[in-house]
């Protein structure tokens, strides 16, 4: 097994032969369905496939490249939150926020992306597959016939992001009440706890009831072993 050691610092650019080769093989079998890819050497591989060939691409990855282990499926909303981190002072005017949508590794053209993690169960080689989802009426093919385990993950993603999975006929809510409105993990869904009460971190530490400054606390008295 390979060891991670902090002492051997090499300055030569690392070429991840295994991942480059795997990417070439995937390029060969997916053809123009593969839009973009990203490799972090010795770490991970990301690919992005065309929306209309999402199902067939994942099927090929499973059948041709034996990525037979289903890790998870979820989505990302790349729009920065209009509420920031909910730490603004309500008495101040709202700060200017950079609302440009920037996608992550392997790029993207839409606000929302669905991504899955699949692994080859014999070589333990895993990759992340991303796909763009249209901004208006987001919808994508369901993977339920390829990976039975995608069932619950698609239900959860439908509930949290409002993405429709075509071919999945049981998209009931998993967590929230039936009549819940909105999709909580979308960035424009406010976190209500931060809306109804201002973030207590705005003010500095409150003074103690007695009015004294708190004593600086000494390092706790645990004795080190070494």
């Amino acid at each position: 097994m390979k060891q991670l050691s902090s002492s051997s610092e090499t300055t030569t650019p690392v070429v991840d032969v295994v991942r480059e080769q795997m990417l070439e093989a995937i390029k060969g079998s997916l053809g123009d369905a593969l839009i973009d890819s990203h490799i972090k050497p010795d770490d991970d591989l990301w690919i992005r496939v065309r929306t209309d060939s999402w199902r067939t691409s994942v099927q090929k990855l499973r059948d041709v490249h034996s990525f037979d282990y289903f890790g998870f499926l979820s989505a990302i909303d790349w729009m920065p939150s209009p509420y920031g981190r909910g730490e603004d002072d309500p008495t101040e005017p709202a700060p200017e926020r950079d609302m440009t949508i920037r996608s992550g590794y392997a790029g993207g053209d839409t606000r929302m992306q669905v991504f899955i993690r699949i692994v080859n169960s014999t070589t333990h080689f895993g990759l992340t597959v991303k796909v763009d989802v249209a901004d208006s009426a987001p919808s994508i093919e369901s993977l339920i016939t390829i990976f039975a385990g995608a069932n619950w993950h698609e239900r959860e993603t439908h509930e949290m992001f409002g993405i429709d999975f075509v071919g999945h006929n049981d998209l009931r809510n998993m967590y929230l009440p039936v009549d819940f409105e909105g999709h909580p993990l979308r960035k424009d869904f406010p976190l209500l706890a931060r809306m109804v009460k201002p973030w207590p971190g705005i003010v500095d530490v409150e003074p103690l009831p007695g009015g004294d400054e708190p004593e600086p606390v000494e390092q706790d008295s645990k004795d080190g072993d070494a």
């Binding site: 097994m1 390979k2 060891q3 991670l4 902090s6 010795d42 770490d43 991970d44 990301w46 037979d68 282990y69 289903f70 890790g71 998870f72 979820s74 990302i76 909303d77 920065p80 939150s81 981190r85 909910g86 730490e87 920037r102 992550g104 590794y105 991504f115 993690r117 169960s121 333990h124 895993g126 992340t128 990976f147 039975a148 385990g149 069932n151 619950w152 993950h153 949290m160 809510n173 998993m174 967590y175 929230l176 909580p184 993990l185 869904f189 976190l191 931060r194 706790d220 645990k222 004795d223 080190g224 072993d225 070494a226």
Partner: protein, 390 residues
């Protein structure tokens, strides 16, 4: 689906018979049975809705959401160091193990690595939380199948491990001890000797459980051949941990991936079982607890001296990027997909918890089984509610 044993085949025939009855309109007047939300077999509040035909389940589905806390949304308004407080509460029986993959993901994005001493202590605490978690499973397993004694043994011996975790971290259940770049503190004096003694007790506990429970004829007849998961189904549903290895998949993330942790410094074995039934899943967990005590014992002897914290800035800003780190937690593969925008807090965290995948197989698995086997199967799949609902 080749190489099925007799018991596995019988289980298949039973589930197909259940299907056939539905299709042929031979269904007698069925009945719906609610198990939970408050049921001892559910480790929290999970509700199983089962449609019965006589004593046989024809359709079953777990209803989750009684404990949904929205951690993925909450991480977006927390700073990186604050997130560990949340993720501690996902799998509350092995809390320290939840912190590790998140911290590793943040460290990966920042390009920092914890000092070797911190990596050793992390690995030891990780395995201690596995022992605390799984030893409770082994005791609870007995209760759910009608044996009272094992749970007393389990609670007694788990206490020793919790005391160790408490004396090292200050918290019995939610240590919140892992920091980006290392650990909060060093080990207290005398901790290593104490841990050695406890590991001996825990191995003794494993022997007792093996005699009392796994050698028991009733236990065997209630678990063998019940809830068989074949290899390819296990992979499709993304089962992990002992559930996957019980279906004959030789895959342990501690061994099969490179992480700045110290599992590869110890000599231990990854156990697999070919049967895929409830007995196999429980048996694998028992063996894993033993292996964990071995890992702890070996690592204790070789902890190097040095600092437990790397040099990291006071205010932690994580550079832009995406990282996926998963570890072999007590319940299975627990991973975090962390997206950072160079900010104080993460932009998005996808929490991949083991129980969510492990329990998503139940609608498939419970079809065709008899009512008492529902409890056996749920117990053997082993889930923690906080780990399903997050």
């Amino acid at each position: 689906m080749t190489m099925l044993g007799d018991r596995q085949q019988l289980s298949y025939i039973a589930s197909q018979a259940a299907d056939a009855r539905l299709n042929l309109e031979l269904e007698t007047e069925g009945m719906t049975l609610n198990i939970g939300p408050q049921h001892p077999a559910t480790h929290g509040t999970l509700r199983i809705i089962a449609r019965l035909d006589g004593e046989q389940v024809v359709w079953a589905e777990p209803a989750c959401g009684y404990m949904h806390r929205g951690y993925e949304k909450l991480t977006e308004v927390r700073t990186f160091p604050q997130v560990t407080t949340l993720v501690n509460r996902i799998d509350w029986l092995g809390s320290f193990a939840n912190e590790v993959p998140f911290i590793l993901a943040a460290e990966k994005l920042m390009g920092v690595e914890a000092p070797t001493r911190a990596q050793y202590i992390r690995t030891i605490l990780f395995e201690l939380s596995r022992i605390a978690n799984v030893s409770l499973f082994l005791g609870d397993l007995g209760v759910q199948l009608g044996a009272i004694t094992p749970v007393f043994l389990a609670f007694r011996d788990r206490e020793y491990v919790l005391n160790l975790i408490e004396s090292a971290t200050g918290g019995r259940f939610h240590p919140n001890f892992d920091r980006i770049g290392g650990l909060k503190d060093d080990l207290p004096a005398g901790w290593i000797d104490e841990t050695r003694a406890v590991m001996k007790k825990l191995r003794n506990f494993c022997d007792q459980i093996e005699d009392l429970l796994f050698g028991n004829e009733i236990f065997q007849s209630r678990t063998r051949g019940i809830g068989v998961i074949p290899r390819d189904v296990a992979l499709q549903y993304g089962l992990s941990g002992a559930n996957l290895r019980a279906s004959g998949v030789d895959w342990d993330l501690r061994r099969d991936q490179t992480l700045p942790m110290m599992w590869n410094k110890a000599d231990w074995k990854v156990w697999t079982h070919p049967d895929g039934d409830s007995f196999a899943r429980c048996w694998i967990r028992l063996q894993e607890t033993r292996e964990s005590t071995k890992i702890v014992d070996q690592l204790l002897g070789s902890i190097p001296s040095g600092p437990v914290m790397a040099k990291v800035p006071k205010i932690i800003k994580v550079p832009e990027g995406e990282a996926w780190v998963s570890t072999e937690n007590p319940l299975g593969e627990m991973g975090y997909y962390v997206v950072s925008r160079g900010d104080l807090g993460p932009f998005r965290v996808k929490i991949r918890s083991a129980s969510f995948n492990n329990i998503s197989i139940t609608p498939w698995l419970l079809r065709g089984v008899y009512v008492p086997d529902i409890v056996t199967i749920l117990a053997s799949l082993y889930f923690i509610l906080g780990d399903i609902d997050r």
